[in-house]
């Protein structure tokens, strides 16, 4: 597990953001039980951050393999649309959930095939589904918000388990599961290996094609789960807006978590932390009472500050002498 020292810049960033939130709203840390679940701004941060955290889990694996998945937002919309229309058509929740997740996995497989077999550049390969996927989602819902009332499905979005909101529980469970799978098997090392040097990995006998497909399929699965949660949360599938631009948030979360966009070393838990940082900032903006015109400026400034902190802690700030990365001088 990454040492606390390695996570220091992120933890400090989170702390500072939470502190400012508290300044803006003294009741920020208040918690109480409401209708059998914890209630409070802190819980909101976790609850609202859950979909992005889930996306970030999948995205981490993709980025570690030197890829990127722009389609996750559209896949969220598709999964939500499938879940909602099937529910409205009267299918039982287990079937609905499985189908929606299957749609996500199928999308991921498609991305994976484009990247691993056709060898398209990941950004382009997934851009295709990013554009077309939302269209497909709208085709499924015919452009309307499909509202449903099935308690089973709604539970996924607004229910509680051990007083915690379901999205938080699901995100946490997925994160733990993913970490276990990745670190208790050799998957993590093999993915990192492919991300650093695919050619050498193939020479070493790694089935890099299959692994890449698996990684994208996993990202599709995560996106579908996030999509189901998003739909269940508002009791409706909003194909037009569900997951819109969330791919950028997910990538941002991964980068804030310290995984390089160039592939290789990754940490799922750190990406989840990155997602929480982003949401803490968003929630802070909401309760700060600033006019909405300032939202983006504030967001930009916070991101820049976090990156500065991170860069400084890595000794990256070298203003005066020209910096030639000693570590890189041997490596392409």
């Amino acid at each position: 597990m990454p040492g606390l020292r390695k996570a220091a810049p992120q933890l400090v960033s989170l702390g500072v953001i939470l502190f400012f939130n508290w300044l803006a709203f003294p009741g920020f840390f208040d918690l109480r039980i409401q209708d059998g679940r914890l209630f409070g701004s802190l819980i909101d941060v976790l609850n609202r951050g859950a979909p992005v955290a889930i996306l970030a889990i999948g995205m981490t694996a993709v980025i570690a393999s030197k890829g990127v998945d722009l389609s996750v937002g559209a896949v969220m919309a598709m999964a939500g649309a499938v879940a909602a229309t099937m529910t409205v058509a009267g299918h039982p929740p287990p079937i609905v959930l499985l189908s929606a997740l299957a749609v996500g996995v199928a999308c991921g497989l498609l991305n994976g095939l484009l990247v691993a077999v056709l060898e398209l550049q990941p950004i382009v390969a997934t851009l295709i589904l990013m554009v077309a996927g939302r269209g497909i989602a709208q085709l499924i819902t015919e452009g309307v918000i499909v509202t449903f009332n099935d308690p089973g499905l709604i539970f996924v979005g607004t229910g509680a388990f051990l007083d915690l909101p379901m999205p938080v529980v699901l995100a946490a469970a997925l994160a733990l599961l993913a970490v276990l799978v990745v670190r208790r098997t050799a998957l993590g090392m093999l993915i990192e290996s492919i991300g650093v040097n695919r050619s050498a990995s193939t020479y070493a006998g790694i089935n890099s094609r299959l692994l890449i497909i698996i990684v994208y399929a996993f990202s599709g699965f995560c996106a579908a789960l996030a999509g189901i949660i998003a739909a269940a949360d508002i009791r409706g599938a909003d194909a037009n807006n569900a997951g819109l631009w969330l791919e950028l948030d997910a990538i941002l979360a991964v980068v804030i978590g310290g995984t390089s966009l160039l592939g290789g070393r990754f940490s799922i838990l750190m990406s989840v932390l990155g997602a929480i940082i982003i949401q803490a900032m968003n929630t802070g903006i909401l309760i700060s009472g600033f006019p909405p015109e300032y939202n983006l400026v504030v967001k930009a400034c916070v991101i820049i500050l976090i990156l500065l902190a991170q860069s400084a802690s890595l000794g990256g700030v070298a203003w005066l002498p020209r910096r030639i990365p000693a570590a890189k001088s041997k490596e392409a």
Binding site: L118, Q121, L127, I128, R134, A137, G316, P325
Partner: protein, 326 residues
């Protein structure tokens, strides 16, 4: 040399083929009007795409371009309409700011070693946010100078127009091609994209080049903003949302690799025109619902890229056999 030009020829061939198919289906599409529209309507996209090509060739990415366009239109409109500044002066101010903005991102990317993706994402938030802060209203620009500029076009036989902004795009492409292939700066850009460490060891001025590249992209985004404001005679904080993705797609369709180091500015021109063609085709078709529009755009995108890959792979194979060196 031929290996460099290969994706370009592939793209060109695909374009000709696609245009042929379009004309076969809608004979009206073979007109100077459509051709003129392709240039005029995609002028701002083409101009940012030139900047984006340099960025991507160097192995980076610039997500801020759409927001910078939006910001520039607002700034220009406010300067002209609220402060009564002459448009030319407003253009100069806007271009200076957008260039400085790009350069600043370049500085952060190089000296703090933060990925371009994230820096320019923050840049996108910042530029769009600053536009909101200035004003959220859409501001019309009424100035004689604008009317004059808009009135400058060549009427082509058949009713088409070769407009000032269309011409400007063509000029920018010519400039971009010269810069990429006939200057030292151009070779530095390719060098950075090929291998930054090697480039550094070979004495390429990495800092200067990186900052220059993002400044160029900022400048061209600003110029695209100027064009956009001429195109619409207005400034609006929400204009050009999502243009960064269209631009990246255009560059990539044009055969440039996102990993950097490989690609041609001329290819980007084809990419822009192909995207315009896809949209024109959809408008001429006129039966696609909102969602089918998205699906079809996605499918066509895929078709183009897959076809291009196929052509490149096929001829690459042939070439390897010939080009076996000693």
């Amino acid at each position: 040399m031929s290996s460099r030009l290969l994706p370009f020829y592939a793209t060109l061939a695909i374009f000709v083929l696609a245009y042929g198919v379009c004309v076969f289906q809608f004979p009206n599409m073979l007109s100077t009007r459509v051709a003129g529209n392709l240039l005029t309507d995609n002028a701002f996209l083409g101009i940012v795409a030139v900047g984006m090509t340099f960025v991507i060739l160097s192995g980076g990415i610039d997500l801020s371009v759409g927001a910078v366009i939006g910001f520039t239109t607002v700034l220009i409109a406010v300067l002209i309409s609220w402060y009564g500044i002459h448009p030319l002066a407003a253009f100069a101010i806007a271009l200076a700011i957008s260039t400085a903005f790009g350069a600043a991102m370049g500085v952060v990317i190089h000296y703090l070693d933060v990925p371009a993706f994230i820096v320019t994402l923050a840049g996108m938030f910042l530029a769009r946010g600053m536009a909101f802060v200035i004003t959220t209203d859409s501001i019309p620009i009424r100035h004689e100078f604008y009317t004059t500029l808009q009135g400058l076009y060549l009427r082509l036989p058949g009713g088409g127009r070769f407009t000032l902004i269309g011409g400007l795009m063509v000029l920018v492409f010519a400039f971009g091609i010269a810069l990429a292939h006939f200057t030292r700066f151009g070779s530095y850009v390719y060098a950075l994209g090929g291998n930054k460490t090697s480039a550094e060891l070979m004495g390429v001025p990495v800092a200067r080049t990186t900052i220059g590249i993002y400044a160029l992209s900022g400048f061209l985004s600003g110029l695209a903003g100027v064009v956009f404001s001429l195109y619409t005679s207005a400034g609006y904080s929400l204009s050009a949302v999502g243009v960064e993705l269209d631009t990246i797609a255009a560059v990539v369709i044009g055969g440039t690799l996102l990993t950097g180091g490989v690609g041609l500015v001329a290819g980007t021109f084809m990419g822009v025109i192909i995207q315009g063609l896809i949209q024109t085709y959809i408008v001429f078709d006129g039966t696609l619902s909102s969602w089918w529009t998205k699906i079809v755009v996605g499918l066509l995108l895929f078709a183009f890229i897959a076809l291009q890959r196929l052509l490149v792979v096929l001829s690459d194979r042939k070439r390897l056999l010939r080009n076996t060196p000693t």
